[in-house]
């Protein structure tokens, strides 16, 4: 055997390996393709061999060839073979190849399911890792569905290396199989607080990706992320979280208020540019969301703008680029603060880096004013001339148009200038944006009436020189402007100086080389032009000339009739016939001009793009309702005749219209007319719209000033637009002088009158001062009357992320669980169980049904509470007193306490709730055959969890026995008394302090003490300070620079009747023993009579339990742990316990921070971990009325103390 292996390896030596292949390709530069095809043949031979090493080598080479662009999908099956090799070396090669070439369409991919599952549960972490990595690249919906549960289990793997990969891949699973999101989410959330920073970062990564697509579902996680943000030191994680907040703030402005401060702190303190930049970005997002009604944030804006200026001024081009990018975001809401940095931005326009110039261009948009528009555009025009790449030039072009046309041409004072800019832009070769320029020309010509005459002159010149524009039609988008030119000349032909000449220009044979749609416009507008030529000439009595024009058309139109474009052909032949008819009439010397012009009478108005959409649906009109009975397609064919038969019988009686009398008809007619009158889209047979237009008040009254064209336009050697700049400057100068003169006059008069009014003699030339050259009436776009002001654009229904828009706060339903592979053959040996199962089922069925309603109620209540939690967290002031309950006087402060501690719960809750119902579920499903039983179990669990959650909110329990008002009347069998981990620390006349100690997840050997301070007096409590006498073992963490004798201030004050929570961190060296620390809380109580200095002494008790952290553990890991033999054992037994096992479990989980690993009947295994990494395993067994607890732990002393504490808890049951 060994010999065979060695022999195999000798054979193998002569095969090409990857390096040989690469070398070969490099040495065959001339005939690479041939060489590679040779190699592929060799590879095919190798793949046919049995030796897996040979196959793996072949697949490895294929992966390389794939990178070079060769399709290797034909080897998919061989790749799967290599993936299933037992050696990691080969497995890795196989998975790599699969990740490079498998995709959803790969048909053999379904064969991999079992192999992957096997690898996922492999004892070697690298097998699992490599499978996860590969899967992340080629996961399909089927794989996701089948493997979701396996991956879920891996999320609680003992090795962080696996955990982080499993967490990360869940995002891919969610994408492919959205149903898995809700069942998996609690565990994912819990990974946010994983002790391993890698896992934590992976969880943050996944949630950020999810939240980016559907932020609103993740709003409730904000407090948790906030906590992470203020505690994490990993910049990568911080960046992700801060980016996430950027997405969340638009949904919840109060969140923004809360964020501003920590973010500004970070901005001030961080040295990492990446972090600084993201902070600035999010602050901007916050400010945008707050932009209304928050006047006192100007400081933050200033800070951002300042920091960005530093970035932009940096020599590093990357920072410069990002600075500009962020600046453009501020621009949208706070243009004023950006405008003050105009110098810097204009400077960036000259940067050698194109990306930076582009970003600076974006900013220019907000920089322009009436005053500097011409200047800025002039600068851009010189850039256009200099620009080398077409992309940058095109970008410049669109920016010029954007800048000029923004907010209805707000900044344009001289439209002649603008038209000449547009005309100049047409000289750009090879631009893709011809249609943009065309659209602008049309828009301006239609909406600015005063400019039409000028525009028509320019356009006819353009048409005349069309050959310049069309010189290289094919690749040139600029010919689109001819579309606009032709239309403008045709539509406003009355303004043309030389219509005859333009007419000829439009009928040149060269025109037929233009794209079809432009030709069509040409043809149509030729007639309009022709009509006005006719009219002119008939009026002048030049009959001959008119006939000549007709002849011209008759001669030239046939070239269009032959066009390949249908539209052109149709229009041309129509018009040709018309012209021929006119010719006949002309021959009879009939005046035709009037009638021909009548064809084109009336004005075309611009219609807003969304006008149609905004027509409101009239009352009582249901667009979805069928007008006729829909044909039923559900009925099968042989049933159809029956239905017809059936119909015939009933039809006469059913469908007969009630005979309307004359009056009714008249009324209806009237109503219809009314409706038509209101409907702008109804085409009416009313008198010529032109006339009505004139009747309409307001439009024609706008004074249209004649354009003064006294200055000659053609200055040689200077582009037209420059001239306008000059002219404009002169004009403004004149204007100013005039104004000054007037002002002086006024002043003189005033002085003569003897009055001294303060009058600024400085001419601050604000935008308002500049009077436009033309009186511009911008005809606004037409909108239907009472249009709905809705601007929402429909979302893309094909967005893959939409499937992940799932409410995550709703509790899980029974039906929502991940599909789990079932071992059918496993049922056989367990058959004895089967008998028991149905019995159990029956028993439980009844209460289940009964419980259903209150269950739902509870859910609703829970949701509400959740919302309130967030609300409270977001509000900066204490919430108003809780809703009046049955005992309002007693209830008030309590509820307060409850809500105050809520943020802490956000994090703790899932840890306790999830592992129970899911871990256990999985276990059960593997073992037990009955599906129903499983379900029921789960349900029970859920119930329990919920109860627990709920009860945790009602605290402290010592004061409030089980008579919660909301639970009254809900039929719950065996209610669990509310639990609280907070216990009384000390109390006096002024203040009551309760506390809870929790292990810290972030650092070893640290615990956090949460104190709830409740003001019992009517005094105002302030300057609270906590001090403890540190022991050798346990020390309070004090701010740097303070001695051990100094107290730590409590960061808030307490008005009468209010409570709040403060947290203090303690470091502990040894955790195996319980500890006690003496301490004092000092404070000043202030009331009407004055203030007194008060003290409260206390003893802080650190139980061993408080060093435990609830950590989920899979049963496999648990079993391994027990087998390892590193753990010492000890046990206790407590008698006289009547409490149900379930409640007992819940109690231990809650008070002692354990999680249930597995539960069978009245026996359960539980797991927890100490802050210093001791594993603690428990086996809990319930006898008749006694409970025995067996514990195993890596430290015997710790275990002993823990069991003692547990004994105390159990004794109370």
């Amino acid at each position: 055997m060994a010999l065979k292996m060695v022999k195999g390896s000798i054979d193998r030596m002569f095969d090409k390996n990857l390096q040989d292949l690469v070398r070969g390709i490099r040495n065959h530069k001339e005939d690479e393709a041939k060489y590679i095809s040779q190699c592929i043949d060799e590879i095919k031979q190798e793949l046919k061999q049995d030796n897996i090493a040979v196959k793996a080598n072949a697949v490895c080479k294929l992966t390389y060839l794939q990178m070079l662009g060769y399709d290797i999908s034909w080897a998919a099956f061989n790749i799967i073979e290599v993936m299933s090799a037992s050696k990691f070396t080969f497995k890795r090669i196989g998975y790599l190849a699969a990740s490079q070439c498998f995709h959803e369409g790969t048909d053999v991919i379904m064969l991999t399911t079992n192999q992957i599952r096997k690898d996922l549960s492999s004892p070697s972490q690298y097998d699992t890792g490599v499978a996860l990595t590969g899967l992340s690249c080629f996961v399909t919906p089927d794989l996701a569905r089948d493997l979701a549960n396996d991956i879920m289990t891996l999320m609680s793997h003992t090795k962080p290396y696996i955990r982080k990969k499993a967490v990360l891949i869940m995002y891919k699973v969610f994408l492919k199989y959205p149903e898995s999101l809700r069942p998996a989410f609690p565990r994912l959330k819990e990974k946010l607080e994983d002790p391993d920073p890698g896992v934590q970062s992976a969880a943050v990564n996944v949630i950020c990706e999810l939240a980016r697509r559907n932020p609103k579902n993740y709003l409730s996680l904000a407090p948790l992320f906030f906590k992470l943000m203020t505690s994490s030191t990993n910049n990568w994680v911080l960046i992700k979280i801060i980016k996430l907040f950027g997405a969340l703030t638009p949904l919840e402005p109060r969140l923004g208020k809360k964020l501003i401060e920590p973010l500004t702190n970070l901005i001030h303190s961080t040295s990492a540019m990446s972090l600084l930049y993201e902070c600035v970005n999010t602050v901007i997002a916050v400010l945008i969301s707050l932009s209304s009604g928050m006047p006192n944030h100007s400081a933050s804006i200033q800070l951002c703008v300042q920091k960005l200026r530093i970035l932009i001024e940096d020599s590093d081009q990357n920072l410069k680029y990002l600075g500009l990018l962020a600046m453009s975001k501020i621009l949208k809401t706070h243009p004023k603060s950006v405008q003050s940095h105009k110098d810097l931005i204009l400077q960036c326009l000259d940067d050698k880096d194109e990306s930076i110039r582009l970003r600076a261009l974006d900013l220019l948009y907000g920089m322009v004013s009436k005053k500097n528009l011409m200047e800025i555009v002039k600068k851009l025009m010189t850039h256009v001339d200099k620009a080398e790449g077409t992309t940058y030039r095109d970008e410049l072009l669109t920016k010029i148009i954007d800048i000029c046309s923004q907010s209805n041409y707000q900044y344009i004072t001289n439209f002649e200038w603008y038209i000449s800019i547009l005309v100049e832009l047409t000289r750009l070769e090879g631009t893709r944006h011809g249609h943009l320029i065309a659209a602008q020309m049309l828009d301006v010509a239609i909406r600015v009436k005063a400019i039409r005459k000028f525009a028509v002159a320019q356009m006819s010149a353009l048409l005349d020189s069309a050959h310049l524009v069309t010189s290289s039609t094919q690749r040139n988008g600029i010919c689109e402007v001819l579309y606009a030119a032709a239309w403008i000349c045709g539509e406003f032909s009355q303004h043309l100086q030389e219509p005859q000449q333009t007419l000829e220009a439009m009928l040149r044979p060269k025109v037929t080389t233009l794209p079809g749609h432009i030709q069509a416009v040409y043809v149509q507008n030729v007639v309009k032009l022709y009509a006005s030529v006719l009219q002119q000439q008939e009026q002048a009595g030049e009959r001959e000339a008119a006939q000549a024009a007709t002849q011209l058309l008759v001669d030239r139109l046939p070239q269009f009739v032959q066009s390949a474009d249908l539209e052109v052909q149709e229009r041309a032949s129509c018009i040709l016939q018309l012209v021929k008819y006119i010719q006949k009439l002309q021959a009879k010397e009939v005046p035709v001009a009037e009638e021909v012009s009548a064809l084109f009478a009336g004005e075309l108005n611009p219609v807003a793009p969304k006008a149609q959409k905004k027509v409101p649906i009239p009352d009582g009109l249901d667009l979805d309702a069928w007008i006729n009975e829909p044909p039923s397609d559900s009925e099968s064919e042989d049933e159809a005749p029956k239905a017809i038969f059936h119909d015939e019988e009933h039809k006469p009686s059913r469908h007969r219209q009630p005979e309307a009398d004359e009056e009714e008809l008249a009324r209806r007619r009237e109503a219809r007319k009314q409706e038509q009158a209101n409907n702008p889209f109804y085409i009416k047979s009313s008198p010529s719209p032109q006339k009505r237009y004139q009747d309409a008040p307001g439009v024609e009254h706008i004074p249209v000033v004649q354009i003064d064209l006294s200055v000659p336009l053609k200055v040689p050697g200077m582009p037209a637009s420059d001239q306008y700049v000059k002219l404009e400057q002169e004009r403004r100068h004149r204007q100013r002088l005039e104004k000054d003169r007037k002002r002086k006059k006024q002043k003189k008069e005033k002085r003569r009158e003897g009055r001294h009014r303060r009058h600024s003699s400085l001419h601050t030339e604000s935008d308002e001062d500049i009077a436009p050259a033309q009186q511009v009436d911008i005809v606004t776009e037409e909108m239907p009357e009472n249009a709905l002001p809705s601007d929402e654009d429909d979302k893309d229904p094909n967005d893959p992320y939409r499937a992940l828009d799932i409410d995550l706060d709703k509790p899980l339903a029974d039906s929502e669980k991940l599909p789990i592979q079932k071992h059918r053959n496993a049922e056989v040996p367990q058959s004895p169980d089967k008998e028991a199962a149905p019995v159990l089922e029956k028993k439980s069925k009844k209460p289940k049904k009964k419980e259903k309603k209150p269950h739902r109620e509870k859910e609703r209540r829970k949701e509400k509470e959740k919302g309130e939690d967030l609300d409270f967290w977001l509000s900066t002031t204490p919430p108003p007193a809780a809703a009046p309950g049955p005992t309002p006087s007693l209830g008030e402060p309590e509820v307060d306490t409850v809500v105050v501690t809520a943020p802490a719960e956000e994090g703790d809750e899932p840890r306790r709730a999830v592992p129970e119902d899911e871990d256990e579920d999985e276990r059960e499903l593997d073992q037990k055959p009955s599906k129903h039983k499983k379900k029921k179990h789960k349900k029970e669990k859920e119930e329990k969890t919920k109860e627990k959650k709920k009860s945790r909110r009602k605290r402290p329990p010592s004061e409030e026995p089980a008579e919660e008002p909301v639970q009254n009347g809900t039929p719950e069998g065996d209610p669990l008394p509310p639990m609280s981990s907070y216990c009384l620390l000390a109390e006096n006349a002024y203040i009551k302090v309760t506390y809870d100690v929790q292990g810290s997840l972030q650092k070893d050997s640290q615990v956090t003490v949460s104190l709830i301070l409740e003001n019992l007096s009517s005094s105002f409590l302030k300057s609270m300070e906590l001090n403890v006498l540190d022991s050798l073992n346990t020390k309070m963490a004090r701010p740097e620079g303070t001695s051990v004798h100094d107290g730590v201030p409590v960061p808030f004050q307490l008005p009468p009747g209010v409570s709040n929570e403060a947290r203090f961190v303690f470091t502990v060296q040894s955790i195996v023993m319980a500890q006690k620390l003496k301490g004092t809380l000092s404070f000043i109580a202030k009331n009407d009579e004055g203030s007194t200095h008060e003290k409260l002494d206390f003893k802080l008790h650190f139980s061993c339990t408080s060093y435990l952290i609830t950590t989920p553990c899979s049963s496999d890991a648990f079993a391994k742990l027990l087998e390892s033999g590193d753990l010492g054992m000890s046990s206790i037994k407590v008698d006289g316990i009547t409490m149900s096992f379930q409640n007992l479990l819940a109690k231990i989980c809650f008070h002692h921070h354990f999680s249930v690993v597995e539960r069978v009947d009245s026996c359960a295994s539980m797991y927890s971990r100490s802050v210093q990494g001791h594993h603690v395993c428990l086996l809990l067994k319930k006898g008749e009325n006694s409970v025995s607890v067996d514990g195993k732990c890596s430290d015997p002393t710790l275990l002993g103390n823990l069991l003692d504490e547990m004994k105390g808890t159990l004794a109370q049951c």
Binding site: A2, M5, V6, S9, M13, F14, N17, L18, Q19, V22, N27, T63, Y64, M67, L68, G69, D71, K87, F88, T89, I93, L96, E104, Y126, G129, L132, T133, C137, Y161, K164, K165, L168, I169, Y171, G198, S201, A202, N205, C208, R212, N234, N235, W236, I239, K240, S271, A272, M273, S274, L275, Y277, E278, D316, Q317, N318, K320, L322, D353, S355, L358
Partner: protein
């Protein structure tokens, strides 16, 4: 999300391509070509961000790249990634120690794993580069940013690989060592290797 990671040389020859979205082989090649086109015509001292190509992504996407001697490292990412963060991920820039994104990075890890990485390493060991990358980015999301952690895992995997090869692997390793001895000079002809193998090979049969 990271959409793709590409490494190619100054002539546009691909040295590594990793796509986190499925594309056909032809499209992949087009993307590489287009990206090379966009990136290669940029000057040395301009910014490292580029608004995406037409083929991959669209307006939401950015190309973030770095240029080292003969190689371009290009990451195509969408807006959920921090631009500076990704730059740091490629390599912690010497001239800007203040950009402490995190103490990690691709190029430095390659440098550690290959001992002074150069283009030849990438050419002949593209599979290893893939393995290193897999420890850093998974399915388009950043998995690990701590270089030491990455190197530890890679070393452990290499060790595992070596132990698997065991006895049978020895001769093969010897052959490849001989083959690699004078890379550029040997005119590509396997026969020469054939003769020379026998000498170093014999001892292992004793």
């Amino acid at each position: 999300m990271i959409k793709a990671i590409l490494i190619f040389n100054n002539h546009g020859k691909p040295r590594l391509s990793k796509f986190y979205q499925p594309y056909s082989e032809d499209t992949q090649q087009q993307i590489i070509r287009e990206t090379f086109h966009l990136v290669s015509k940029r000057d040395e001292n301009v910014c490292n961000f580029l608004e995406g190509g037409l083929l991959i992504g669209g307006s939401d996407n950015k190309l973030i790249y770095r240029h080292y001697a003969t190689l371009y490292f290009v990451f195509c990412v969408d807006s959920s990634e921090s631009e500076l963060g990704i730059l740091d991920l490629i390599q912690w820039p010497e001239q800007h120690p203040k950009q402490v994104g995190s103490q990690q990075v691709f190029v430095e890890t390659l440098d550690k794993c290959f001992e002074n990485v150069c283009e030849l390493d990438l050419i002949f060991h593209v599979d290893k580069v893939h393995n290193i990358l897999a420890e850093m980015v998974m399915g388009g999301m950043v998995l690990e940013t701590n270089m030491n952690e990455i190197v530890t895992q890679i070393d452990a995997q290499n060790k595992l690989e070596k132990s698997e090869a065991g006895l049978a692997g020895a001769p093969a390793r010897a052959v490849s060592a001989v083959k690699n001895m004078n890379l550029p000079e040997i005119p590509r002809n396997i026969n020469i290797g054939d003769i020379s193998i026998k000498v170093p090979n014999l001892p292992s049969f004793k």
